[in-house]
């Protein structure tokens, strides 16, 4: 059917050889999210990591306190479980000797409502907390830069909470509590839902940036 009454669309503005100067300026200001500082770096989990992770998660110091909660699924079943719903997942490694210090994961992304879940596992919970926190900080920064999430949730059983409770109000907010949700060692423990907000992150991340740049001075 002829459509003579509709006007032609306005012409697209012609751009010069150098493009729109405003876009050029923005592009120059853009910095790619970093997966490295002077102390550590993040790299994607590869199949060669699986045997190590399987042993850590089923038999390491945190086995009963973390994701599997003491269960030991078969190896193939574990591989399928650990990749389900994962958006991004990295090993945290030390620059000086490439040793693995932890694992960070973003999963259950909800792009409609703008949130995702985070998980972090330290392979040596009694070891270097500063390195692990730096790694988590790099990862949160990376996730906020790559996707437009408003908030990132962290779920934790209350028996793990004292390891990072001082961050409440500074790095995260406590958004929910399920009473006596977990069983461990003869006791019932609450389940806490924490959230890191995009709007709060620039201020919260300053500590991480300070340490990460020490060697740059």
């Amino acid at each position: 059917m002829p459509n003579e009454s509709q006007p032609d669309p306005p012409p697209v503005a012609a751009e010069g050889a150098t493009g729109d100067p405003l876009v050029t300026e923005r592009a120059e200001r853009f910095t790619a999210p970093s997966l490295r500082n002077d102390y550590l770096y993040l790299r994607a989990v590869v199949p060669e990591d699986y045997p190590y992770l399987y042993l850590v998660e089923t038999s390491g110091a945190m086995a009963a306190r973390w994701g599997l909660r003491g269960a030991t699924p078969g190896y193939q079943e574990w591989i399928q479980q650990r990749s389900a719903g994962v958006l991004a997942q990295f090993m945290i490694l030390k620059v000086e000797d490439d040793s693995r210090i932890g694992l960070v994961t973003a999963f259950s992304a909800d792009f409609q409502d703008g949130h995702a879940h985070l998980a972090a596992l330290s392979f040596d919970p009694d070891g270097n907390s500063v390195m692990m926190m730096l790694g988590i900080g790099l990862f949160v920064d990376y996730v906020f830069k790559c996707w437009s999430f408003r908030k990132l949730y962290l779920d934790t059983a209350e028996y793990n909470y004292p390891q990072f409770a001082s961050g409440a109000g500074k790095f995260f907010k406590v958004e929910g509590r399920l009473r006596e949700h977990h069983y461990l060692d003869g006791e019932w423990w609450d389940h806490l839902i924490l959230a890191i907000f995009r709007d709060d992150w620039p201020e919260a991340s300053k500590l991480v940036e300070q340490i990460g740049s020490w060697r740059d001075r």
Partner: protein, 86 residues
């Protein structure tokens, strides 16, 4: 408690520890554990590390702070590290 021969440095150092941990100066001793006795968790240790560098100008501690086994470190051991590099 003061650290013999380094009284002024010890007091400045303990003031920083006290401020970050919210534990009184009188209750902090050389053998106090950073985690068990002062109750610093992972994020508080990050704050302590930054405070030591920024307030004591102890920039030589950067590498040590990043590689310490914080679960075992005492206040005295951290002070010795500070003295060694300042």
């Amino acid at each position: 408690m003061t650290d013999s021969g380094n009284g002024a440095a010890w007091r400045r150092y303990i003031d920083v520890i006290s401020e970050v941990s919210d534990v009184s100066v009188e209750s902090i001793h050389r053998d106090s554990s950073i985690t068990r006795d002062l109750g610093l968790d992972s994020l508080a240790i990050v704050e302590l590390a930054v405070a030591l560098i920024e307030k004591l100008k102890a920039e030589g501690m950067e590498k040590a702070l990043g590689s310490m086994d914080w679960g075992k470190v005492t206040v005295g051991e951290l002070f010795d590290q500070y003295l060694a590099v300042r």
